[in-house]
Symmetry: C2
Subunit: 336 residues, 2 copies
């Protein structure tokens, strides 16, 4: 006998239903974000909102709202927590752009290009402080622990990345350790707040954290692949930015390991000695295709995506559960 | 009839008794600091400890320990709180040095000169995260509120300072607003933890906060004066650094306002247009002496110092109360 399981059908590669399901909550989050970037100090609201209002997908706050829904949370703490997560994320982006000397972010000039590195560092610090204050208002020690741990772990990940920068011999494991910290940790934290707020059992907390971690890894890997094959419009930055900055990402790790001596000499010259002009970028992309480095990066992303989807297994079918699975498919599909 | 009040005699300009009274607690703070700069990520402990172990006076953690003692606190949360305060302070120094492009701090090369701006930004972020984590472990929402508010307010103060930079028409009030946020707020927070931990009445919390605020202002004003008249050794930075960076501090505000048109043209050229070489510094110091700008900055510092000392009035006489008053006298005396 056929059983109809409308919400357990194959996921769609779209975040539309996720966006729709959290819409009412997200409006409150946006209002909170707007009010909490307020400061009597000139420039702070302007610099903060430049990035916050620049059309990011707000994936991280959405994870807070969605997992809270999925876990049946009935309170209203998710609004401040989601805003705090977005603030922490924005702070790290402001600081990243200074560290990476980036000129473009989400298709717009970075704050540091408009107001200088100084302002980017300090407004980032302000947002870090505000995110912690919002958590204090929520009043849950456990939630504060999750966010403050994420803040420290993200910074550790960035330092690891800095140390690995320009080192073409970085292993895939070392690279994964970097993105687990700098990207996946905040996805994990965001997804964990829902079950924590709802007072759900440890197993559900762990499941949501695993979902977030693996979605975050998949997301970052696809980003890394897109940097060698996407278009600036969907990337929000220039193709080849990672290459020009000497960043070691998984496509490079794979192409380097699979290459011959001459190719490795090329990678070293390009990434370690900075000979990374447009001609070199073309060569780099050619070598990646030769060794299927971009395709396999996307394959790896699928692997983590599958773990993320499976992590949701112990939750009963619901529209929001399905929307979370769709979000994984969406993250992966950006590669095509 | 004469009453002997051994602890209410005139304060000595020394922090020796303060250092001695908090010594056993401070050893635990130092051990905590050392263990919490630990990270598996190479470089983080090295960069963090470069500044933390560089012989700062640890005045802020001492305030936590001393006010806890003065208020009769019997627990042990002050250790982690004092360490968290020092971490927040260190994080802001790391970021400040990037913002100000400073080369020297406490007489040593700044972290940014040794490991680069990137590392300074990120290790600062790591320390901010760690300081919040330590507060979470303490588990007092009120204490977390104090620290996270301080973090946001300090960043606001730095942004205000950035906006005021190179603006010779900054008023004394505007300048005071800057140092209230960027310097005095953390002194205030540090001093407030004691009565909060001890569960003392609001009036004592307010008294300690007032002590900290005004000590912090006095401290900063004397620092500002020393920049135009101290020696590199006691300053831990080069004489004239503020001048060369175009920083508007109280000595400049006073000399500018008291000067004639030709002098104001000089100040504008030096600080707004960056013509701040050694000859200009000599002229600047000359104008300051002419207008008693340095002396009056120290007079202002005395005013705030007096408020700080008076704020302690409602506490009964005790060795630690006296040591806190001595610390104010010490802060002021550095100017001579």
């Amino acid at each position: 006998m056929a059983v109809v399981l409308p919400f357990e059908s194959a996921p769609e590669a779209s975040i539309e239903s996720l966006v729709r399901l959290v819409q009412p909550d997200m409006e409150r989050v946006n209002a909170t974000i707007l009010s909490r970037t307020g400061s009597d100090v000139t420039k702070i609201p302007e610099v903060a909102n430049h990035l916050i209002s620049s059309g990011g997908k707000r994936l991280r706050p959405m994870l807070v709202l969605a997992t809270a829904q999925m876990c049946g949370y009935q309170g209203d703490a998710q609004t401040k927590i989601a805003a705090a997560v977005e603030f922490l994320h924005t702070a790290t982006l402001l600081h990243d752009d200074v560290v990476d000397e980036s000129e473009l972010r989400r298709g717009k000039a970075t704050a540091r290009m408009l107001w200088g590195n100084e302002m980017s560092v300090l407004v980032g610090d302000f947002l870090l402080g505000q995110s912690m204050r919002m958590m204090v208002e929520v009043g849950s020690l456990r939630c504060m622990e999750i966010l403050s741990t994420a803040a420290a772990v993200i910074a550790e990940g960035e330092v690891m990345q800095l140390a690995a920068a320009k080192n073409t011999e970085t292993t895939e494991d070392a690279y994964l350790a970097v993105i687990r910290s700098k990207t996946a940790e905040l996805f994990a934290a965001a997804a964990e707040f829902g079950p924590v707020l709802a007072g759900r059992p440890k197993a559900e907390e762990a499941a949501c954290r695993s979902y977030g971690t693996n979605l975050g890894i998949a997301f970052q890997l696809v980003d890394d692949a897109l940097d060698y094959g996407g278009r600036a419009a969907e990337l929000g930055k220039n193709v080849g930015d990672d290459f020009r900055e000497g960043k070691i990402t998984l496509p490079v790790v794979l192409a380097f390991r699979r290459g011959n001596d001459a190719e490795r000499a090329f990678w070293r010259k390009a990434l370690e000695q900075g000979e990374a002009d447009d001609a070199a970028l073309e060569t780099a992309v050619g070598l990646m295709h030769k060794h299927r480095a971009i395709e396999d990066t996307c394959e790896r992303a699928k692997h983590y995506g599958a773990i993320a989807t499976d992590a949701l297994g112990l939750f009963p079918a619901s529209p929001v559960k399905r929307a979370l699975a769709d979000a994984v498919a969406f993250a992966i599909s950006r590669a095509h």
